[in-house]
């Protein structure tokens, strides 16, 4: 049974509290994964767009959504993954990029995705801001990050790849 007790905005409000399991300072809304909430006669359909197709965090996020909405008494809930339009790092808000930097991850540059594969593209150190940095490994602990080191302050850091 669906009651119309909750509006789309209320549900979006609840869901905006859910953190990205891999970058817990950011929410799924800030990172651009939470796309929409549809209210139909079958219930509430939560529309997510995965960051990477094989992102292992997706399962955790789906469970977090179901658990949170169950606690709020919202139901029935289905989570739907939508691939088009494809997620891009351009959907990460500027405020979220700043949080990411403070957390120690160098955020992706603005809409320069075609350059994501050129190793020399400018990545600045999240600690000291120096642009004199060096790629150590194209892959880090997760598919979305690469490993760099700063030649100025010698700090190793992760860079969220432009995608």
């Amino acid at each position: 049974m669906v009651t119309t007790a909750y509006t789309r905005e209320e549900i979006m409000g609840y869901l905006s509290e859910i953190a990205d399991p891999e970058i817990p300072v950011l929410t799924i809304e800030e990172i651009g994964m939470l796309r929409d909430v549809l209210i139909t006669e079958k219930g509430y359909e939560i529309i997510l767009t995965p960051t990477y197709t094989g992102c292992p965090a997706m399962g955790i996020i789906e469970e977090d959504i179901e658990r949170l909405l169950a606690e709020k008494g919202v139901g029935p809930v289905t989570v739907k993954l939508v691939y088009a339009p494809a997620w891009t790092t351009d959907w990460i808000t500027d405020a979220a990029k700043e949080k990411m930097r403070k957390y120690g991850i160098s955020p992706p540059e603005h809409s320069s995705c075609s350059q994501a594969f050129s190793v020399g593209s400018s990545v600045s150190c999240p600690k000291c801001g120096s642009a004199d940095t060096q790629l150590v490994s194209r892959f880090g602990a997760t598919a979305c990050k690469a490993l760099y080191k700063c030649n100025s302050c010698k700090e190793p850091f992760e860079h969220f790849k432009c995608h």
Binding site: T53, Y83, A84, P85, A116, F117, R138, F139, A143, L147
Partner: protein, 252 residues
């Protein structure tokens, strides 16, 4: 309206390619020559398992018999798999794995770029997403093929040997049968043979830069579109499907 059975078969092919190569790459976990490579290869594997999941899920929906992506991955027999033979070949040494990555990801970059214009919206969406990932795979493989080909005498020998051994599995990538033909007519699939000149040009450039010889096109292996495989696929499936075969529908 596309013949749903053709579309189902086509989706299995795309999904199985990702699933089987993903499984192969996962075998490198904890065994790569450098920790950065361990991360890279398992990340590629993860991208592919995600792609397989999306494609097989859609295949199950198109088939309309209630099979999920897990049913399709774990409960089909060898002859019902349609991945290209090159995907199932054992990893060999690091040179062999990287040479395969180059040949396959160069093909996939062209394929998914073309499929991102497919008239089937779901295929187009998955292709657009995948394209971003396979470009990264290709860049990585290209670096290694050049570094090893134009490296020491031993690394050169191993890389040339790998390219030679893989070459007879590349012809199959560009084949088409009646399933392809029908879906090409409908604007859903891509004429893979039309991608061949670009693929050859790119591979030729990379191999030349790596000081490697481009093998001559000779006898080419085939069979995957009919579900005929090398002896290696059965061994992959016996490992990959073990749990669901021993304990059907087990979950955790």
């Amino acid at each position: 309206m596309a013949d749903q059975n053709n579309l189902f078969k086509y989706l299995l092919r795309l999904g199985d390619n990702a699933l089987v190569l993903s499984h192969r790459l996962s075998e490198w976990c904890s065994r790569a020559p450098l920790i950065e490579e361990d991360l890279a290869l398992t990340n590629f594997s993860l991208d592919m398992i995600g792609r397989a999941q999306a494609l097989l899920k859609y295949a199950g929906e198109v088939e309309g018999k209630g099979r999920t992506e897990d049913d399709l991955a774990y409960k089909r027999a060898e002859r019902q798999f349609y991945n290209h033979l090159v995907m199932e070949l054992p990893n060999g040494d690091f040179a062999f794995t990287m040479a395969r990555q180059l040949l396959v990801s160069a093909f996939e970059c062209l394929l998914f770029e073309a499929l991102s214009n497919s008239k089937d919206e779901t295929i187009a969406a998955i292709a657009a997403k995948t394209l971003k990932e396979v470009k990264y795979h290709r860049a990585h493989a290209e670096d290694w093929v050049i570094r090893l080909g134009d490296g020491t005498e031993e690394s050169y020998q191993r890389m040339q040997h790998a390219v030679n051994a893989l070459w007879m599995y590349t012809g199959e990538l560009f084949e088409a049968d009646e399933v392809d033909a029908e879906l090409i007519r409908e604007g859903i699939a891509v004429d893979q043979n039309s991608l061949r000149p670009q693929w050859q040009e790119y591979i030729g450039q990379v191999l030349t830069e790596a000081k490697l010889q481009v093998p001559a096109d000779g006898y080419m292996q085939t069979g995957s579109r009919k579900g005929i495989h090398t002896e290696h696929l059965g061994h992959i499936l016996s490992e990959m499907q073990y749990l669901q075969r021993a304990y059907p529908d087990a979950t955790w």
